[in-house]
Structures are given as C-alpha cells and as structure tokens.
C-alpha cells in the first residue's frame, strides 16, 4: 500500500519537526514547511495527498491555504490545527472546504485517523 503523502505546515519549527518524526514512524511520507509561502511552493513541486496546517500563521494562514488549494488543487484535502477550535476562523475554514480542525495539543490517533480518511476521500 502506497504511503500517504503529507505536508505539515506550522510556524512553530520545533512542533512541526517533532510531529513529522512521529508521523513518519506511523508510516506517512512527511514533508514540512514553516510558513504558507513555502508550503504553496512545495505543493507546486510535489502535490501531497493531505496538507495539515496551523490555522494561525503570519501572512498566509490555514484558512487562506484552504481557499487557494480548493481553487488550485481541489484533490488535496486540508486538515487544520488550532489552539482555539471554537473561533470564527474555524467556521470560515470549514465552510471553505477544510476536512476538519483539531485542537492543540494534539491527540496523535485523532490526527492519523483524519489524515487517513482525508487521503481516502474525494473533496469534489
């Protein structure tokens, strides 16, 4: 079975690095980006199955990533991470087409389950 390709995007470098290691141990093919610009560039070079992005980032945040991917790469699913899962931005991102939004600190099983269901689903 092919590995699910995941792009992790978060401006907290330590967080994204460690989470990438943990996902790799669980047999995901993981790359990381620490800002939205770099993430969009990396997606252009090699399109992932799933993008896992922090909702609150400077310049290009998680909501904007969802919006751009719906337009440019509608097959790519987006899972968002946030410390404030009740905020207005979460509703906006879900309306734009994000598959789900998980609360930080994370539960790794919830994340891996969501990534697998995202990789298996068709956003269109």
């Amino acid at each position: 079975m092919a590995q699910v390709k995941v792009l992790l995007v978060d401006d907290e470098n330590d967080f994204v690095t460690t989470l990438a290691r943990r996902l790799s141990r669980r047999n995901f093919d993981v790359r990381t980006a620490t800002n939205g610009h770099l993430a969009l560039q990396m997606i252009q070079e090699d399109v992932p199955d799933v993008v896992v992005a922090d909702l609150h980032m400077p310049e290009i945040d998680g909501t904007e990533i969802v919006g751009r991917l719906r337009f440019l790469y509608p097959d790519v699913q987006v899972v968002l991470l946030t410390g404030e899962p009740w905020g207005e931005k979460v509703k906006e991102a879900l309306q734009l087409g994000a598959l789900g939004c998980l609360e930080k600190p994370l539960n790794i099983s919830e994340l891996t389950d969501l990534i697998r269901s995202a990789a298996a689903s068709d956003p269109a």
């Binding site: 907290e12 330590d14 967080f15 460690t18 989470l19 290691r21 943990r22 141990r25 609150h56 410390g83 404030e84 009740w86 930080k104 600190p105 994370l106 790794i108």
Partner: protein, 223 residues
C-alpha cells in the same frame, strides 16, 4: 472613567487571549516531544529495563503537567472571549474547580481546608463566565472571612428541582458568624455588593444558619 475601564477590560481580554494561545503552542510542542520520546522508548530494546521504567514514569508525569496546563489555557480562553459575547454556554463545574486556586491566599493564612463536590456530568448552563466566577469567588471569600482558623469549607454544585443550578458553601463552625446582627459595617458592605452583583446575572444569594451555609442560586435553564 467607565469608558477607560471598558478599554482596560478589552485590552486585558486581548492579552489573556494571546497568552492562552501562546501557552497552547508551548504545550503542544512539549506534548509532541514527550510522546515522540515515548514512541522511541517503546521501540527500544529491553536493555536497561530499570532506566526505561524511570524514563517512562518521568514522561508520564510531564504529560500530566501538559494536560493540566492545557486545561488552564482553555479556561483562560473562556474568560478572554467573555468580551466578545458576554453570555455563553459554560460548564459550572469548571468554574467551581477554579475556586480552589483562588482560595489559596486565605487557605494559607487561615489554614482553611477546601472540599469541592460537584457532579461528574457537566453542569452546562448559559451565563457570563467572568461574572459568575466573580460572584462565586466573592461568596467564598466572604464566608472564609467568617470562619475560624483551620476550619473546613465544602463547595457543592447541584441542580435544583425543576429549574436552575445551586452552589452551596458550607462551613460547619460559622453559624454564629453568619448572623447579620453580629456583622461589622465592612461585612454588610461586602454582602450588599455580592447581592447587587448576583442580581445583575439573574442569581440570588442567601444565608442559612444551621449548618453555616451560603447559597448561590442561578435561575437558568439546564442545557
């Protein structure tokens, strides 16, 4: 003056929101590192079993502290968002749990022992979290001022028959202290302030002589 207070409250809410957000990021990273180390340990060979066990215990303790910090950050968010929408759904049990840390100053000076007693299931109601905490904390402080050193105080949350939620503060040795005719002017003033604060959030407060009990009743629908 009132306008300045509103601006200060709004600013405080923003600061609290920012601190809670950053705290969650710190805890999220700490949690990832901890669980990553647990992954590595689980996969390691069985050499040094004693050391492995010690490490596992240490990591479990760190995880416990991360969980505690996350709960605190969540509660900070609850109050910072009080400015956006004053009335929101809240779990009264969570607010009551915050009374224990708030009681520390007089717990230390008077040696007062606090016992919290609330139902296991959430006590969800609609209200203003900050004002509810203010009234609960004010009642606790008021009763504590009437207690004897090394007394106990039980705080109990319960649903009223039909409608509303009740929080009782009971100290068995204060039946004389809660008689209004024995109060100093300052105690009358504190009590009047509490009554007025309670009235502002559709709550009532009352005193019962035997056992020494202060009651707060929230006239709210259960959710």
């Amino acid at each position: 003056m009132i306008e300045m207070e509103i601006r200060e409250a709004e600013f405080l809410a923003r600061v609290t929101d920012m601190v809670a957000h950053e705290l969650r990021n710190v805890l999220a990273t700490a949690k990832e590192y901890t669980e990553h180390m647990e992954d590595v340990l689980a996969a390691a060979n069985s050499n040094g079993i004693r050391e492995k066990q010690l490490l596992q215990e240490g990591l479990a303790a760190i995880r416990g502290q991360i969980s505690r910090g996350s709960n605190l950050a969540q509660r900070m968010n609850l109050f910072s968002h009080g400015q956006d929408s004053p009335e929101s759904e809240l779990d009264l049990n969570e607010l009551v749990e915050m009374l224990e840390p708030l009681s520390k100053p007089f717990s230390r000076t008077k040696g007062l022992k606090m016992n919290l007693n609330h139902p296991v299931q959430p006590m969800v109601m609609v209200g203003h979290p900050l004002r509810i905490l203010m009234i609960l904390s004010g009642c606790m402080d008021f009763l504590a001022s009437l207690t004897e050193p090394r007394d106990t105080m039980e705080i109990r949350v319960s649903r009223r028959q039909g409608r509303g939620v009740m929080v009782s503060f009971t100290s068995p040795h204060i039946s004389k202290g809660i008689r209004r005719e024995t109060w100093a002017p300052i105690e009358h003033r504190q009590w009047n302030e509490l009554e007025s604060l309670a009235a502002g959030i559709h709550a009532r407060i009352g005193l019962i002589g035997e056992p020494g009990m202060l009651l707060v009743v929230f006239e709210t629908e259960w959710i």
